[in-house]
């Protein structure tokens, strides 16, 4: 039951492990999958007979549902496992959970885990394909891929674009995956947030650090605005949400003060009035809902590629399925 060889390798753990060609091929492969979700009957036989486990050890709505739609629209059989109410809550270790899943002969695992490195840990221990749906503060590759696809859809390119990630970079897996992916595709990357929420040595990753959000907006073609988790205030990283909004919040006033058309992304869920004002979220700069739509297509593409599908045969596979 060894999985067919895929152009991405066995797993998708992070964008740090991929090269530019692989990232582009995922984005390209997502294109033919976009239209499936527009059909009246949203189902193709691409993954017929494949069993996929969605192992979500941390709460998630958007990512879990997006994966589930992608899987179901490709005709895979899926099982969802959440931390609460499962054997994990009874003290089962990740190794044992993995081995038990494997013993039930599954093809793929989509894992969301609160510990950095958990997806790679699982990938090293089971022969099934493992897809990282977010591991701790490490990576969230499918989120970054859907961000890249959305940016490319709207600007026609990634290379040479200036993209600034705003907010809690320290704890953000979305930020890390975006930084790796954007740099590999030739974008310039900036980060902006309170110094308390920037990781040590972030500049050495090849990104520009902006002290003030006004400077970041002035510089950027694209802003990717991160959610400020309420725990960060309790942890003392920022004094109050009100102050955060005043100093770092993305507002129409700030966008209009900058020249040009800034594209605004947000991985959700949003705290309206904290990191992003409602008029921006709902306004002309925002492509936030496009991101959500693209998320399903990108995840279909990844499932297809990891199952051994060839990028150039995606169109045909929609009729016939893969191996």
């Amino acid at each position: 039951m060894s999985p067919a060889a895929s152009s991405l390798g066995k797993d998708l753990v992070g964008l740090e492990d991929l090269d530019a060609g692989q990232i582009r091929s995922i984005l390209d492969t997502a294109e033919p999958f976009k239209e499936i979700s527009e059909r009246k009957i949203k189902k193709v036989p691409v993954l017929r007979g494949k069993t996929i486990v969605n192992l979500f050890m941390e709460p998630s709505t958007r990512t879990r549902i997006s994966f589930e739609f992608a899987e179901k629209r490709l005709s895979a059989d899926t099982v969802n496992i959440a931390a609460s109410g499962s054997s994990v809550q009874k003290g089962e270790t990740l190794v044992d959970t993995a081995r038990n899943l494997e013993a039930m002969k599954i093809d793929m695992v989509v894992i969301r885990h609160w510990a950095s490195g958990a997806a790679g840990f699982l990938a090293d221990r089971i022969p099934s394909n493992v897809i990282n749906a977010g591991d701790g503060s490490h990576e969230h590759p499918t989120q970054a891929l859907l961000d890249l696809l959305t940016i490319r859809d709207h600007t026609g390119r990634i290379e040479g674009l200036k993209v600034c990630i705003v907010g809690d970079i320290l704890h953000s897996r979305v930020a890390r995956s975006n930084i790796f992916g954007l740099l590999k595709l030739g974008a310039e990357v900036g980060v902006c947030g309170p110094r308390t929420l920037l990781p040590a040595g972030i500049g050495e990753l090849g990104v520009t650090v902006f002290r003030r959000v006004e400077e970041a907006i002035e510089w950027a073609d694209v802003l990717n605005v991160l959610r400020l988790q309420l725990e960060r205030m309790k942890g003392g990283y920022v004094p109050t949400l009100r102050e955060y909004n005043r100093v770092y919040g993305i507002s129409t006033r700030r966008l209009e003060a900058a020249s040009g058309e800034t594209l605004v992304l947000h991985p959700g869920p949003m705290n309206r009035g904290v990191e992003i004002d409602s008029d921006v979220a709902d306004g002309p700069h925002s492509v936030i809902l496009k991101q959500v739509t693209n998320g399903v297509a990108v995840r279909m593409a990844i499932l297809y590629l990891l199952a051994g599908g060839a990028p150039e045969q995606a169109e045909a596979a929609k009729q016939e399925g893969v191996g």
């Binding site: 740090e16 270790t93 990740l94 190794v95 885990h113 510990a115 950095s116 490195g117 958990a118 790679g120 840990f121 591991d135 701790g136 503060s137 490490h138 990576e139 897996r173 890390r176 990781p199 040590a200 040595g201 972030i202 050495e204 990753l205």
Partner: protein, 429 residues
């Protein structure tokens, strides 16, 4: 007839008496009787032919975790004492952070007597500094010393209350024992699992900055100066820590300090892709820090080599990095690592290595041994400086296998370990 042993024809190196020559060592009734040339073996004496081998005062590791009581699945006092002997150590100092904590005369006595029963390396208990290692009030240090404790420490739980640390340094005066400290300001390091820096940032792991160790190190040095106390700083891992200790020593502050093999040899890069065998506390840091620790080890600022032997069961290390416990085993690799990377490489002479592994640790904790002088207890380490070997955790006598040095090719290996004139371990040929 007196029990006697003659260790014949080895290269005897005894830093405490400035000896480095091919000599014989006669041991009678567990004590060194004579060191010299052409000594006749008394009738009935056990003769150890040590030609081509180095004969040194027994190595002492002043920082080990033997896990008993409470963590016997990781190590027991007996298995740890045997692992020590197999690593060429004739004595170890067992840290008190067990369950229950070694904070009473009864528990100190337990560690001591179980250690004696093992008939391997000597096991010296180190008592807790505070009751339950809670950092609130001092243990009955006088009684702990009476029961056999050779020092006090809250190792594992840094003493965050500076006032308590001051009291410990002052109170310990009467007993002339060192107060050992794991330097870490928990407010600065809280939640960290590796060094703070680029590697942690890339992996999305929470870091412990150098400053979390440095502020505590400098505080302890100031308190030792204030109290004229004896401070023993454990596992120094930062450049600024080494620098501060060097300056404190030149000011006459009574400080001894440890270098561990892993902080001498590895950097944060060893964490690689969430490798839990490179997770320890203090963490592996940058090349700048490692180089400073090396320099401190070479010039004697860090006068004691200690392993911080921290056994963990493989199930515990086979977890996500955040969940895995801190620490690695060290007893059975220390000699090979230091010999290979300092002596064979030409940076340190054998005499200095033996000074760091025997004489200085004995001095830091007022222990018997550390010397082959006449009348001194006959704790002797015999090792082969030329043997090449490969680190195979499967052959460890320790119950645990958690080492980042698996597969390393080393030169220099323990050959025989003698405690009080008795062979407690020898390598099977």
């Amino acid at each position: 007839m007196a029990r006697a042993m003659l260790i014949r024809g080895g290269r005897v190196i005894d830093p405490s008496h400035d000896v480095d020559d091919v000599l014989d060592v006669l041991v009678v009734e567990g004590k060194v009787a004579r060191v010299g040339r052409g000594i006749e073996a008394p009738e009935g004496a056990e003769v150890v032919e040590a030609g081509g081998l180095v004969v040194a005062p027994g190595f002492i590791d002043v920082h080990v975790h033997l896990r008993e009581p409470g963590g016997e699945h990781k190590e027991t006092i007996a298995s740890g004492a045997r692992a020590a002997a197999a690593g060429g150590f004739t004595a170890v100092c067992a840290m008190p952070n067990t369950d229950p904590v070694i904070d009473s005369p009864a528990t100190v006595g337990f560690v001591r007597s179980v250690g004696q029963e093992a008939e391997a390396a000597r096991v010296y208990p180190v008592g807790a500094l505070s009751v339950g290692q809670k950092g609130e009030r001092l243990t009955e240090i006088g009684e702990l010393v009476e029961a056999g404790a050779v020092g006090v420490t809250d190792d594992g739980n840094p003493v965050m209350n500076s006032g308590l640390m001051r009291l410990a340094l002052e109170y310990a005066h009467a007993f002339d024992i060192p107060v050992a400290d794991h330097c870490e300001d928990l407010g600065l390091s809280g939640g960290g699992v590796m060094n703070e820096g680029l590697v942690a940032s890339r992996l999305g792991l929470k870091g412990k900055p150098n400053a979390s160790e440095d502020v505590h190190t400098i505080r302890d040095l100031l308190l030792a100066e204030l109290t004229d106390g004896r401070i023993h700083l454990q596992h120094v891992s930062t450049w600024a820590g080494v620098d501060a200790i060097r300056r404190a020593k030149s000011r006459g502050i009574r400080v001894t300090a440890e270098a561990t093999p892993h902080h001498l040899l590895l950097t944060e890069e060893a964490v690689g892709n969430y490798r839990t065998d490179a997770k320890m506390n203090p963490p592996l840091r940058t090349a700048r820090d490692r180089d400073a620790v090396r320099e401190g080890f070479l010039d004697g600022t860090l006068d004691v080599l200690a392993t911080d032997h921290a056994p963990h069961h493989y199930d515990e290390k086979e977890q996500a990095f955040d969940d895995a416990p801190f620490g690695i085993v060290g007893l059975e690799t220390a000699l090979g690592l230091v010999h290979t990377h300092f002596v064979v490489s030409g940076e340190m002479d054998l005499r200095t290595m033996i000074e760091r592994m025997s004489t200085a640790p004995a001095r830091a904790f007022n222990l018997a041994g550390g010397s082959l002088g006449e009348g001194v207890v006959a704790d002797v380490t015999v090792f082969d400086p030329n043997e090449e070997w490969e680190v195979d955790p499967g052959s460890f006598l320790s119950r645990s296998r958690n080492t980042p040095f698996t597969g390393d090719r080393l030169v220099g290996r323990p050959w025989m370990t003698i405690v009080e004139g008795r062979i407690v371990w020898q390598r099977e040929s």
